[in-house]
């Protein structure tokens, strides 16, 4: 384990005496920023772990200095004060066109959602107070217009992460145009001005965007007191539901009406899980567990048309053809595969296939076409 030197014996005796539980852990303090514990790194211990005492005093000087170009290439974030905004401009109108081409299949017309991918517009700030405590009540609507505190988040996120299947493919003018369009469908104003079709957003007027829910978040993390506000927030459990009490007998809780607890059972059970529930220990039905689970089904039901593009079907292995398919969004592709589209029969003509099997097959087809 480790060499016993005199210093170690002395310190370990101190540790033994200090702790009734006979443990060797380092000192734990209830002083963390998050309302929890921190642990000292001393006497060769960090909490219950032994550590190499030499390390804390070491300078390693690994790595190398990045070049100016490297920094420029990677330091691509955009901050709320506009730091990092690229030079460029784009109109709401141009954004509308781009959105139709590249985004609407997943996010719905005007960002209104509807196909299962995130909804980008609609709702109201007052809806954020909605609490669905009974069935049939309206949900709070968290969209760019009702929820997002900063416009910088939107342009930064689109630049890095969208469109989903080809992130980082938009140029700066396209970025401004798409951002302008999404702000406009959320009825967001810039310097008091409504964003009409001709409105042009650029790095020059970006700071004038008025985000409706900019004050919707706490604690306040900005400015010189930001971190201290976080500390104060976590110091009081009432702020975040940390209010449990250790009651041992005859405990009262609003769930206990009278003598018996009020038991809420599952209303409609969510059962759509993959793979299906099972705790059985047997040999799997199909022994080719190393292959893709959709392979065999593909070969028996779909390969006849999809092995080549002769029938007008996207051929498995043809990356270009499948990139076009993928850009429609998986939800839409699955809908087409299940319900049929153009010369593609519903479920490829094999109606015995379940939706889950269809998903496995399409996943296999896509995995072979990357």
């Amino acid at each position: 384990m480790f060499k016993l030197d005199h210093k170690f014996i002395a310190t370990s005796l101190v540790a033994l005496m200090a702790s009734s539980a006979f443990t060797m852990a380092s000192t734990a303090k209830k002083d963390a920023l998050d309302g929890g514990m921190t642990y000292t790194r001393d006497k060769g211990m960090y909490s219950d772990y032994y550590i190499n005492k030499q390390v804390d005093k070491l300078k390693i000087n690994n790595g190398r200095t990045p070049t100016a170009n490297e920094l420029k290439a990677w330091d691509s974030d955009i901050m709320p004060d506009g730091t990092g905004l690229p030079e460029g401009k784009g109109s709401v109108e141009d954004g509308d066109e781009l959105y139709e081409e590249q985004c609407a299949a997943c996010h719905g017309d005007f960002g209104a959602g509807g196909v299962g991918y995130p909804t980008l517009s609609g709702g109201s700030i007052s809806s954020l107070k909605n609490q669905r405590t009974a069935p049939g009540m309206d949900a709070p609507k968290r969209t760019i217009g009702t929820y997002w505190p900063k416009a910088s988040t939107l342009i930064w996120y689109i630049r890095d992460a969208m469109p989903y299947a080809h992130p980082k493919s938009l140029n700066n003018d396209q970025l401004y145009a798409l951002t302008a369009y999404l702000l406009s469908v959320n009825n967001i104003k810039v310097g008091g001005e409504v964003m009409e079709d001709e409105f042009i957003l650029s790095n020059k007027n970006f700071s004038k965007i008025e985000m409706p829910n900019k004050d919707g978040f706490y604690p306040n993390i900005d400015g010189k007191d930001g971190v201290e506000n976080v500390r104060k927030f976590f110091a009081d459990g009432k702020n975040y539901g940390a209010v449990g009490k250790r009651c041992m007998s005859n405990c009262k809780d609003p769930g206990m009406k009278g003598a018996e607890p009020t038991v809420m059972k599952i209303g409609i059970e969510m059962k759509d899980v993959n793979p299906p529930y099972s705790t059985v220990r047997d040999m799997p039905k199909k022994t080719n567990t190393s292959g893709h689970p959709g392979k065999e089904l593909y070969e028996s039901s779909c390969a006849v048309c999809h092995a080549t593009d002769k029938m007008g079907a996207p051929a498995v292995g043809d990356k270009k053809a499948w990139d076009v398919v993928k850009a429609k969004g998986l939800q839409n592709v699955m809908k087409n595969a299940i319900n049929g589209t153009a010369a593609m029969p519903p479920k490829g003509g094999n109606m015995d296939l379940t939706d889950w099997q269809m998903q496995l097959i399409v996943d296999y087809m896509m995995s072979q076409s990357m």
Partner: protein, 437 residues
Amino acid sequence: MTNISNTSKSEIEQTSRRDFFRKTAAYSVSAIAATSILSPAKLLADDENIIHHSKWGTSLGYELNKNPYGVPSPFEHNVVRRTTPLLSSAGDMHAAISLSPIHELKGIITPNGLFFTRTHNGVARIDPNKYRLMIHGLVEKPIVLTLEDIKKYPSESVIHFLECPSNGAAEWKGPQFNSVQFVKGMMSCTEWTGVRLKHILADLGLKPKAKWMLAEGQDGSEMSRTVPVEKVLDDAMIVYAMNGEALREEQGYPVRLLLPGWEANLCVKWLKRLEFGEEPWYCKEETSKYTTLTPSGKAIQHFYPLEVNSIITSPSPEKPWTDLKKGDMVEIEGIAWSGHGKVKLVDISFDGGKNWVEANLKGLVLTKAWTRFSYIYKYDGKPILLSSRAMDESDKVQPTVNQEKAIMGVEGVYHRNSVCTWEIKANGEVNNVQIRS
């Protein structure tokens, strides 16, 4: 050793052994225990698995290195992560989550192939030879590190859980899944190996003005988050190994950030760069998502710690008590954890939270790690409402469903840690319920 008398042996033969064993096989172990309802003679029936040579004992096994990277027995094929389209964008399994089969896990270490996974743009496949990490911003000396550079720093290994703050999010409005895997499986616990960030920063010289750190990923979504420097200098690490081997791709191969006890989403995978600054960044995943809407209509931002929590994994909907008979002694077992420190104790209630008894902790009790608890129970066949409630080193106790709901409402999505309850019916079936008004 038991001697079986000649009479009982012949009796068994008369009552058709094969038939009997066909039935017991169908009921498995439970049926053997339940044979007390059969005549004493049948109780002493021979187990064919003992009487006859086994298939595996009478043939040559497979070559020892057939699987240069070992795989579980095929009989374990149902011990897997599971997903649901409900926890995804439109059923798209690139922006979704898979959950750990916590009902099948033992001890406090999750095998790497069963670690829960959340991605925002699929699993990135990174060539480790082309991997670079950049650290810059308010530091005296910005640097670029290769994977080999990172591994040259002295390493530390620590056991910590990671939990998605959405763990249990489907249940704010009431129980929805009859499954412990789906109720609490968005978490796993691993021995991580990597470097304390403060040791790297000692080289770079953090400027006094630096208050926040941006951590950004290299996947398609460039998943990013803002972290207070105070946490970075306390226990933050960048890690490249889990349970002794390289990170799995799903967990951020080759390098991810580890912020012990904090939202797994903050522990950015496929780490690309760390930038130090004076003001927070407001990334997508700390504004649009991972903020907790409260009944006031305002939302909590930068909600870091995963609070004290526990779950009984056995019994559970997947591990019912249908094979027990009255008088059997059975172990109630579960996992407790807290992002605020060590688990101090766990209580168990059999009556829906009116009365509680303290359970036993077992195994290692480490900070910000899964901790096992155990209670031996004499099964009496009566229906019960079984709950667990943990308390941590910072003296926080899990709230009841009603206590948590009174403050947080039901629309917050994240950070649900109220007491979970299983209803155990007279036939031993287990259902997910809530004690809730």
